[in-house]
């Protein structure tokens, strides 16, 4: 009876605030906030572009987030700067930052970038694919074999499509086994790694076998040029202008659309600054690439084809992961598989597709690797073990969580650049016998540091709910 009396009073009283609660990780935050995110309520756990109304606020919120462990791409960018400066100082004749070396590093890194993006989608699920290296090389060798003359002499595009499809099938198979039989992906892909490492040697024709493509055969030229081919300076500048213009328009229109609909949108100054940053990075890369880095007799200048190729892969993966249902489900499964299952997501389907797409992307990386080694594939240039270690390392160093659910394609790209920089920097040092061990030890150390950051930041957000 008494219930009704007290009750009629507060039934219509809205809950405005709950003064007693403190969101995890933020002690300084004010409690009362509106759905539309009051500007003063800076919190370490909210994406800064959604609460900041001005650029100054954005920087403050961003810094809060960094301090609370949600640092995004900052650590890897800093690491890239540190690596660049260090190697520039310690390499003989301070050669590390020469345009010719930088372009070489871009070429080398693109292989790790593509493999790291491939690995990212599987890591996001909370799984791991140890076979990316072997599958990548398998795909590369298939593509190279199919364009051989005399031999199948397929057109380059058909060879590449078939190679990527083969890799995709392998991935789908491993994904199905992992998802349906509930065998840890670690074991399944370890088996795949050994299996395809062996098959690779057989296809290559023994331990010292090799397969080549050259720039003279018409159906091989494109594959040879994937990394080796150059886009002339004029065409490069035009392409950059188009890309920056398109990206800028897209960013601007999206922010404008959100503002129009009354949703929280990044401040205009931030949009302008991010467009400017994109342009700045583009211009810097272009300047590096268009410096004549040849000999006095032969001029070598221009942007390697592989840079736009990697950008396309990056764009595609970003689109798939951020703007499609598939991508959303990948994150959901990585965050809480049970929640995804209850929401009607097919765990088996999404996992299988993720592994398939991972392996297909890896296949592209394998083709790029062959092109990077001047169109030659041999058992010496191709070490599947090192490739897989580097690609997992690149993804994790870039900021993809090993525990699933966190990370983006761009992290794989930045991590790949860091790994490529370290690998090449070590080889520049003329260390002789020490070079090979260091090529493992340095990325290993960086990887351990990255995993440490990953674990600590997860602890910071208190979100270790693994099902």
């Amino acid at each position: 009876m008494a219930r009704a009396d007290t009750h009629g009073l507060d039934r219509d009283t809205p809950v405005t605030a709950d003064p007693g609660e403190t969101p995890t990780g933020t002690a300084d935050a004010t409690m009362v906030a509106d759905l539309t995110a009051t500007p003063g309520a800076a919190a370490a756990d909210v994406p800064p572009e959604l609460v900041a109304q001005s650029f100054g606020q954005y920087v403050r919120v961003w810094w809060l987030r960094v301090r609370s462990g949600n640092s995004g791409i900052l650590p890897v960018v800093l690491a890239i700067v540190v690596v660049a400066v260090t190697f520039e100082v310690i390499t003989p004749e301070h050669a590390f930052l020469r345009p010719s070396n930088l372009v070489y590093i871009f070429g080398l890194s693109t292989v790790y970038m593509v493999l790291a993006m491939a690995e990212t989608v599987v890591l996001l699920l909370g799984e791991i694919d140890l076979s990316v290296g072997a599958v990548a090389l398998f795909g590369g060798v298939i593509a190279f074999k199919l364009v051989q003359q005399p031999g199948p002499a397929w057109p380059w595009w058909a060879a590449m499509i078939v190679a990527l499809a083969c890799c995709g099938l392998i991935g789908a198979l491993q994904g199905t086994v992992t998802a349906r039989l509930k065998i840890p992906s670690f074991i399944v892909s370890l088996g795949g790694f050994l299996l395809f490492s062996g098959i690779l040697v057989v296809i290559l024709g023994g331990a010292d076998g090799n397969v080549n493509v050259s720039s003279s055969a018409p159906n091989q030229r494109v594959i040879y040029n994937l990394v080796q081919g150059l886009i002339g300076p004029v065409a490069s500048w035009i392409a950059l202008a188009v890309v920056v213009g398109a990206a800028g328009t897209l960013l601007w229109l999206r922010a404008a659309a959100r503002r129009r609909q009354g949703l929280a949108a990044p401040p205009i100054s931030l949009t302008v600054i991010s467009i400017a940053l994109v342009a700045l990075v583009g211009v810097a890369v272009l300047i590096i690439c268009t410096v004549n880095r040849g000999t006095p007799l032969v001029s070598v200048e221009g942007v390697p084809w592989v840079i736009p190729i990697v950008l396309v892969v990056l764009g595609a993966w970003t689109l798939v992961l951020q703007r499609t249902r598939f991508g959303r489900y990948v994150y959901a499964i990585g965050g809480n598989p049970e929640a995804a299952r209850r929401a009607g997501v097919s765990l088996v389907g999404i996992r299988t597709w993720a592994f398939a797409l991972c392996s297909a992307t890896a296949g592209l990386g394998g083709i790029l690797l062959g092109s990077f080694f001047f169109g030659e594939y041999s058992t010496n240039t191709a070490d599947p073990g090192q490739l897989v270690l580097y690609s997992v390392a690149a993804a994790v160093i870039g900021g993809v969580s090993l525990f699933g659910g966190r990370g983006k394609a761009i992290h794989g790209v930045l991590g790949g650049l860091l790994i490529g920089g370290i690998a090449y920097g070590v080889s520049l040092l003329n260390l002789g016998e020490l070079a090979t061990p260091l090529e493992y030890i340095l990325p290993g150390g960086v990887l351990l540091a990255a995993v440490l950051v990953d674990v600590l930041s997860r602890r910071g957000t208190g979100s270790v709910t693994r099902v």
Binding site: T16, D18, V32, L35, V51, L319, G335, G462
Partner: protein, 275 residues
């Protein structure tokens, strides 16, 4: 007192007092040799909160899962809006407008509030996720439920407090024009303030004309929000009626012994405990 609730029942089908939105009759369920439910009857009227009480192992969860489509009853009939229905899967339940908020919430920590609320039912525009329209609708739902303590609906669920998470889970359940919401231990593991938020939310669901069932051990919470109380004891519904027919003492006795003061439940409202 029931008058008060009728008035607050608001617009919609809340007024038809004689036919409850969901009516269960003679539900039996066994798992192997274990009989979990014996001929359970239960009414969930629209615009009212029904508190389902019972000791551990009384069959609360099994009954909930039978309604949610996780289990199928062996015998018995379920009427929804007066029609007999068969709920064979959780999808069937969702299609009818029956949503369940489980104890472990089923939210993905790494996704933000909007992404969680639309998980599995994302809106697409030209093949891509239509984030803006989803965000608007999520904001609208949260504000009609007056869940205003979150800073931004784009913050990851990991950064929310327990009460906020529960609120998001409930909002997710009611966003799909659901008519029946089953809440499994909504206040377990919550502090006082957080519990307040969730209970207020439950009342708001009732005011929107939904049939709400709250499964809870906590009699304080049950007496605070429930219009009706149903008590399970060893798989049998031993008492069911308006909250006025109960007091704490009698509910505890029904939960533990299946009867109160040695007598079984009298539904006429006469079994008013002496206190």
């Amino acid at each position: 007192m029931t008058e008060t609730n009728e008035i607050l029942g608001g617009p919609g089908p809340g007024g038809d007092g004689f036919e409850p939105l969901l009516r269960l009759r003679g539900i039996d369920k066994h798992f192997g040799p274990v009989q979990a439910l014996y001929g359970v009857n239960l009414d969930l009227p629209a615009g009212q909160v029904t508190g389902l009480c019972g000791d551990n192992g009384a069959g609360k969860s099994v009954l909930t899962r039978c309604i949610a489509g996780v289990h199928q009853p062996d015998h018995g009939q379920i009427n929804f809006e007066g029609r007999p229905v068969h709920i064979r899967s959780t999808r069937d339940a969702s299609a009818l407008g029956i949503e369940t908020v489980y104890q472990d919430l089923a939210l993905a920590d790494n996704l933000d509030i909007v992404q969680n609320m639309f998980l599995g039912r994302e809106r697409l525009r030209r093949g891509l996720l239509d984030e803006d329209s989803m965000e608007q609708e999520a904001a609208e739902t949260l504000s009609t439920l007056r869940v205003t303590t979150v800073r931004s609906i784009r913050q990851p669920v990991a950064s929310l407090s327990g009460g906020q998470r529960q609120a998001v889970a409930v909002a997710k359940a009611v966003m799909w024009n659901s008519k029946v919401v089953l809440l499994d231990e909504p206040t377990a593991a919550l502090g006082v303030v957080q519990t307040r938020i969730v209970l207020d939310l439950v009342e708001r669901l009732r005011d929107r004309g939904l049939a709400v069932m709250v499964i809870s051990h906590n009699l304080n919470d049950v007496f605070e929000v429930a219009d009706r109380i149903a008590v399970l004891h060893l798989g049998r519904m031993v008492a069911e009626g308006p909250v006025a027919d109960f007091d704490r003492q009698s509910v505890v006795e029904y939960m533990t012994t299946g009867s109160s003061s040695g007598r079984p439940f009298q539904p006429a409202g006469s079994a008013n405990g002496e206190g």
